[in-house]
Amino acid sequence: MSVFEYAPAPESRSIVTLRSHYGLFVDGEFTDGGGAPLKTVNPATEEVLGEVAVGTDADVDRAVRAARKAFTRVWGPMRPADRGKYLFRIARLLQERAREFAVLETLDNGKPITESRDVDVPLAAAHFFYHAGWADKLEHAGLGPAPRPLGVAGQVIPWNFPLLMLAWKVAPALAAGNTVVLKPAETTPLTALLFAEVCQQADLPPGVVNIVTGAGDTGRAVVEHADVDKVAFTGSTEVGKQIARSVAGTRKALTLELGGKAANIVFDDAPVDQAVEGIVRGIFFNQGHVCCAGSRLLVQESVHDEVIASLQRRIGTLRVGDPLDKNTDVGAINSPEQLARIRELVGIGEAEGAHAWQPEGDLPERGYWHKPTVFTDVTPAHRIARDEVFGPVLSVLTFRTPDEAVAKANNTTYGLSAGIWSEKGSRILAVADQLRAGVVWANTFNQFDPTSPFGGYKQSGYGREGGRTGLRAYLKES
C-alpha cells in the first residue's frame, strides 16, 4: 500500500531550560541531597538531561518535618477557601506553562509530544482545578459534617505519567488539608521539579509540598518515616505488597494503585474499525507503559481473523520514533531496564509457543525502542497472558460465549481495568457488571477524568483516585 510520507514536524524544545543540576525541594527551597546524584536521561536519544539530587534518610526526615510544621501551623489551620485558591492558582499556572511541561515530560519520559501535550498536562491541570473546588466543600464528601485531614502524606509515584501521577496524588491531598512529601520516579524527576517552581510561583506556603528525588531507598524512607500519617503509592504490585507489609501495625493509612492485566473483550457484533482503534489505544498508548493497558485482547472466535487482519493493517500505519515529532504515535521505552524486561517476556512468549507479529520498519539507532508486538495463539497459561509486560505487547486470546469471555477476563490476580466492545447495550451492562475490575471502558478505552474514580480490585491495589470517592483516601470521618 502506498502512503504519503510525513515530513518531520518536531516540537521545539527551546521552551525548556534544562539545568545541569537539580536539587530537592524542601520547605519551599531547592537544596542539595545527601546521596550521590543520579543522571536522568532522554530515553529517545540517551542524552543526559541533568543531574538530580538523591534524598537520603536525613533529607526525607527534613522534608517530613517541614511538611509536619506546615500542616500544624499553616495549611491545617488555613481557611478551606484559601487552600482552594492556592490550588486554583496551581491549576492555572500549569495551564500557562503547559507547553513547557509537555516538552519536558516528553524529553524525560520518551512519550510522544501529542500525548504529553493533549493528555498528561491538561489532565494534571484539570485534577488541580477539580480538587481546588473541593477544599471548602469537604463536609459534602460523605465523611460526616467535619471531616479532618490525615496529616502528612508520603507519596511515591511511577515514571509512566510523571506529572499526571503527581497531580493525582498532590491535588486531593492538599484539597483535604494534608501536606505532602512526594518521591518522583528515579528516571522521570524533571516535571516534578518544574512543578516545585510552580508551587513557588503560586506562593504556596513552604513545606506544604516537598519533593524528594531519588530511587527505591528514598521511596522506602518516605514510606517508612514514623511521622508520615498516610502513604499513597502507584507502581508495581510487588513493591505495593512490601509497602502494605511495612505499614502493618502502624497508624498509617494506605492506598495502592498497582499493576494490571486488563482484558479488552471484542464481541462479534462490535464495529471492527472502532474496536481496532480502541485496541490500539488500549495497548500502544504511552508505549503500553500503562497499568490499565488493554494487554489481553479477548476476541470472539468468529471474528478473530477479521479483527487481527484489520489490527495488523492499522498497526502498520503507526509511526514509531522521535517523541518530539508531532506525527509520532509510539515513543521510546522509558529505560533500558524496562526494555530488557519487555524483551525477556517477549522471548518467553515465543518460547512458550505463542506467535509474535511486528510491523515492518526500522527503529532509531540510539535510544530505547520496542516495536508494537502482537502475540496470537496465546493460551491463558502463557506468561504473556498472566504477567504485566508494561510495554507495547498485546496478547490475543479467543472466546465463544459471553460467559467464557467473563471467566477468562477475570482469570487474573489483577483487577484494574477492562474493555468491552459490542453494539448491544444489555450485553455491555451485563458483562460490565460481572467483570472484577475497577474501571470498565465500554466502546472506548484509556479515558481518564478527575471526576471519575480510578483504582483496582484484587491485587491491583486498594483505594480510589478521583471523584468524591477519591477524597476518602485523604480524610478521616469526624
Binding site: 505488597k241 512490601q242 501495625g249
Partner: protein, 287 residues
C-alpha cells in the same frame, strides 16, 4: 414427680449451611462467667477454615448477584428470627459476659436493631457511595460500589453478640460473604446466631461461623489467597502479624481498634466501606 432431664445440645460449626463438627475432632470447654462448665464447643482447625472459605467463595456469586432489595429482605428476616430467640440469646450473653439479665437483654435488643439497621442499607449504598461522574467529554460515566468478595471476620472477643453482629452484618449487607471466627471464650451466641442464619433464608455459605481460637485460625485466613478482606477486630496482639500476612495477597484490612469499642455507638459506614470496591464504567454518547 421426678425432675425432667433436659436435652442438651451438641455445639458445632456452621459451614456451607450445614452444622459439621470440626474435622479435627477437637473440642474445648466453655465456661460461664463464674467458671462453671457450659458446653464443649467445636475447636475449628485450619482445614475447617479452608472449607469455610470454599463455601463462602461458592456462595459469593449468588449473594452479590442478588438484588439489593432481596438481600435487604433476607437480612431483615434474620432480625425477625433473632427476635424470637431473644430469651435464649440473653441467657447466653448474661452467662458469657457476666451481665445482669437486664443488661444482657439490652445488648440483645441492640443487636437485633443493629441487624435491622444494616438490612436497610443494602439498597442505599449505591446511591450514597456511587453516582454519575460529570466527565469532560461525550461519555456517560458512572461509579457503583461492589462487594470485594470473601471476608474473614475475627469477631470481637468481649461483646459476644452485639459485637459479633456489628462485625458480621455490615459484611453481609455489602454483598460480601463471610467466614467468622467467634469469640473464643464466649462462643455460644455465635452458635445460636448460626441457627438463626440457617433458618432465615440466608443461602448456605454466605455466612460461615467457626468457634475456636482466632490466634490459631487467623493466620491461615490472613494468608489465604481466596480471602479478599479481613476484619482484625478480635485478633488481639496478633493483629500486626496478621496485617503483614494479609499484605501478601493485598487483602482489604479493617484494622483492630486499640481497645474493643463501645458497640452501642452509631457505626456509620465505617465497617462497610473497607469491604466495598468502586467500579467505574464509561460509555461514549453519540448517535
Amino acid at each position: 414427680m421426678s425432675e425432667r432431664i433436659e436435652v442438651r445440645k451438641t455445639y458445632k460449626l456452621y459451614v456451607g449451611g450445614k452444622f459439621p463438627r470440626s474435622e479435627s475432632g477437637r473440642t474445648y470447654s466453655v465456661a460461664d462467667g463464674r467458671g462453671h462448665f457450659v458446653a464443649n464447643a467445636a475447636k475449628a482447625s485450619r482445614k475447617d477454615a479452608r472449607d469455610a472459605v470454599v463455601a463462602a467463595r461458592a456462595a459469593f456469586a449468588g449473594w452479590s448477584g442478588a438484588t439489593a432489595y432481596n438481600r435487604g429482605q433476607v437480612l431483615y428476616r434474620v432480625a425477625e428470627v433473632m427476635e424470637g430467640r431473644a430469651a435464649q440469646f440473653a441467657e447466653e450473653v448474661a452467662a458469657g459476659e457476666g451481665l445482669s439479665a437486664a443488661k444482657a437483654r439490652a445488648a440483645v435488643d441492640a443487636a437485633v436493631d443493629r441487624w435491622v439497621w444494616y438490612a436497610g442499607w443494602t439498597d442505599k449504598l449505591a446511591a450514597v457511595l456511587g453516582g454519575t461522574n460529570p466527565v469532560a467529554g461525550p461519555y456517560f460515566d458512572f461509579s457503583v460500589p461492589e462487594p470485594t468478595g470473601v471476608v474473614a471476620v475475627l469477631a470481637p472477643q468481649r461483646s459476644s453478640l452485639l459485637g459479633l453482629v456489628s462485625a458480621l452484618a455490615p459484611v453481609l449487607a455489602t454483598g460480601c460473604t463471610a467466614v467468622v471466627v467467634s469469640s473464643y471464650q464466649r462462643p455460644l451466641p455465635a452458635i445460636t446466631l448460626s441457627e438463626v442464619l440457617a433458618t432465615s433464608d440466608v443461602p448456605g455459605g454466605v455466612a460461615n461461623l467457626l468457634t475456636g481460637d482466632a490466634a490459631e485460625i487467623g493466620p491461615w485466613l490472613a494468608e489465604h489467597a481466596d480471602v479478599d478482606g479481613i476484619d482484625l477486630t478480635g485478633a488481639g496482639t496478633a493483629a500486626m502479624e496478621l496485617e503483614r500476612s494479609a499484605a501478601g495477597t493485598l487483602k482489604r484490612v479493617l484494622r483492630a481498634p486499640a481497645d474493643e469499642p463501645d458497640w452501642t455507638g452509631d457505626p456509620g459506614l465505617s465497617r462497610m466501606t473497607p469491604f466495598l470496591e468502586t467500579k467505574t464504567v464509561w460509555h461514549p454518547m453519540g448517535v
